[in-house]
Symmetry: C2
Subunit: 159 residues, 2 copies
């Protein structure tokens, strides 16, 4: 009885979820699944450091400024997902003492964000972990296949 139920369920899965998918549908689903799969892996790695994926990314953006401050708009442009509320994301990084915020002297509407030493030190620890995760995630594909995948994804978006 149990075995039959299991069999029915698997059959169902195949019928309901795998079959009948058009190529556009399958593509969309596969991209979603890949993205979620990768994101979950990253979050797992970042969790011990109390960083969300986007917080980690913003820290890297700030480090990329090499000591120069950067304002919120410019951060937003470089973010992976253009989420509304970079203010509050930065608030959280401030609370953790990973960044500092000062008001721009030449234009007081602007805010200048700068990574702290603690932020830099944290990146030093987390970076290799993320590198390793990225390598691990892509390890099933050869260099050529990865290049191909990137080419296809870029072509997908750009008319």
């Amino acid at each position: 009885m149990y075995i039959q139920l299991l069999y029915m369920k698997e059959l169902n899965d195949i019928l309901k979820t795998k079959a009948n998918l058009s190529l556009p549908q399958a593509t969309v689903i596969n991209i979603f699944h890949s993205s979620i799969w990768i994101k979950d892996d990253f979050l797992l790695q970042l969790k011990p450091y109390d960083l969300s994926l986007e917080q980690f990314n913003v820290l890297r953006i700030l480090r990329g400024q090499k000591g120069n401050a950067i304002n919120l708009q410019d951060i937003q442009e470089r973010m992976i997902s253009k989420m509304s509320n970079t203010t509050r994301l930065v608030d959280k990084l401030i609370k953790k003492k990973f960044v500092k915020r000062t008001i721009c002297k030449t234009n007081r509407r602007k805010v200048e964000i700068l990574i702290t030493d603690l932020g830099l030190e944290t990146l030093e620890i987390v970076d290799p972990i993320i590198d390793e995760t990225e390598k691990n995630i892509t390890k099933n594909l050869t260099q050529e296949e990865l290049t191909q995948l990137n080419t296809l994804l870029i072509k997908l978006k750009n008319k």
Copy 2:
């Protein structure tokens, strides 16, 4: 002055975001960007019908049951992202009168979810819009390229 600033900014973008990316890094970023790009498009299309992407997906899962009820666990297994709290997602669909919930007679721990006529009618309207969106999203790639992309994405995840 303006032109120079713009130039500097673009140069920066190239240096900071495009260059120096390893193949694994580029792959991860491209998958994220594709996913976000597609999701935003879907959300835009679904917005007039007050449906989130996952709500729409659950409605389609329920329709796939062809009149049979399905419990929360089984819904969850078929969802795109295994988000915690299918209860509350279903609550929202109930509030919109798209689904009904009853307690399973043979196992009262379980809950049986069934799509309503209103839910089915809404799907009839939204389905072609989503189909069109999917086709539009994938229109830059040929059939062979889409097949290739799917093959690579599947290979990426499956060891």
